[in-house]
Symmetry: C2
Amino acid sequence: MNSKEDKDLSRLCIHTITTKPWQIEEAAKNFAEAGVEGITVWRDALEGRNIKLTGKLLREHDLTIVSLCRGGFFPAKDLNKRKLAIDDNRRAIDEAVELGTSMIVLVCGADPSQPLEESRKQIRDGIAAILPEAAVAGVKLAIEPLHPMYADTRSAINTLAQANDLAEGLNSPSVGVAIDVYHVWWDPSLEKEIKRCGANGNLLAFHICDWKVPTSDLLLDRTLMGEGCIPIKQIRSLVEAAGFTGFNEVEIFSTEYWKYDQAEFLKKIITAYKEHS
Amino acid sequence: MNSKEDKDLSRLCIHTITTKPWQIEEAAKNFAEAGVEGITVWRDALEGRNIKLTGKLLREHDLTIVSLCRGGFFPAKDLNKRKLAIDDNRRAIDEAVELGTSMIVLVCGADPSQPLEESRKQIRDGIAAILPEAAVAGVKLAIEPLHPMYADTRSAINTLAQANDLAEGLNSPSVGVAIDVYHVWWDPSLEKEIKRCGANGNLLAFHICDWKVPTSDLLLDRTLMGEGCIPIKQIRSLVEAAGFTGFNEVEIFSTEYWKYDQAEFLKKIITAYKEHS
């Protein structure tokens, strides 16, 4: 059987950062050969490359380019830094268009030298500032709530309720939400907020991985589905019940797995995807 | 000026774990000499000691024994383990009585091999099981919501809203809530939930420390007030506006500070307390 015919993988997407040791050309070839149908591209993977040609290459491998990761990081106490962040987000929109993807994931940012409320305001203002360009470009901005352990420097949007509030407040067809099980699994309001997100047409993306027990690093110790304690299948069923029909995107930052032979790791990802998500 | 007359310190309490390298007798003497008026005792600090005599010693230093840390860890997939946990919590109540304190802080626990909802049910049942003994002993049980990054093994109660729900549901004068800035500072509902906690008479304890930027360890990398990004003064003012008049308890787990000369560290704690809380 040609692995491309394996329907189990028809909604599997892998983030380039997941197999970070691979160059994007190598990742694309290997993903495609394994039957993976989606890829989310991290901006660092595009460095030094012609973005249009890279997009073309990915499509030649029959890969759907699910999203560009990542825009955001809007808050800064310093006005000039906030302007630079908005410029950078406009560049991300251009890059998304060149690459040929219709979604950018936003890691919203936070500045620990100012109150969270201030960072939250600047996030809203930053997204509002780039909305016109996003709309013209046909690119959707997916606000990803980040785990509260990242509230210091990575995101002041730490719950799905906040992301829903923000998306609803901006009230634009170009803004929605990306749900990553790693960030939201602990949330007692999860079921309610997933329903709300879907009901309002804001559920744009779904990221999966697992929470390792114990976790030794706040950022780079995620693990494969089934190797941790997140009820991934249950969350996926909530997301699908809320109307989501997009890709299940495997996004794993793991110092440990990056040391592995990446071809072996890809096999493990596919097995874990089939069995535990 | 006798440091005991320094009114700034009249509501300062330090947890024995904060100056972990000191034996409790040494901590008591040094806290008292520095003008600190409260101590919270971790159970490990009592190991191999006569608890009554230790309590007497602390009182001879004019220290108020604010609480015993910690009970809890109720959830377990295995029924026998849950029974053992309840037995251990009953022992904690006995120890609190022997020590002469009227409060036990509960770190509620979580078992990553079962759903969070199940752990939450077992926490409620566990507290309900020991409530009669707590009431007879005159010991209050303070439910401490823990940061969501501890939802895997330390606590399935991860927001102040959940702790408030749980305390209100149990509806007993022997149950309340302990608020630690480290666990709740990120929460967009914080102000509302602190008000609710105070209004319902459930605000029993207030713990302070700071969130280091960056944080290198999920458990043992807390820092001194003023050295991180938590708006401690603001949260303290919310807690006091909600009617809290108890001690401000310094609870810092820090591999780094435990390596310091503890007498120097104590001076730093006092300065940080005066300037940043």
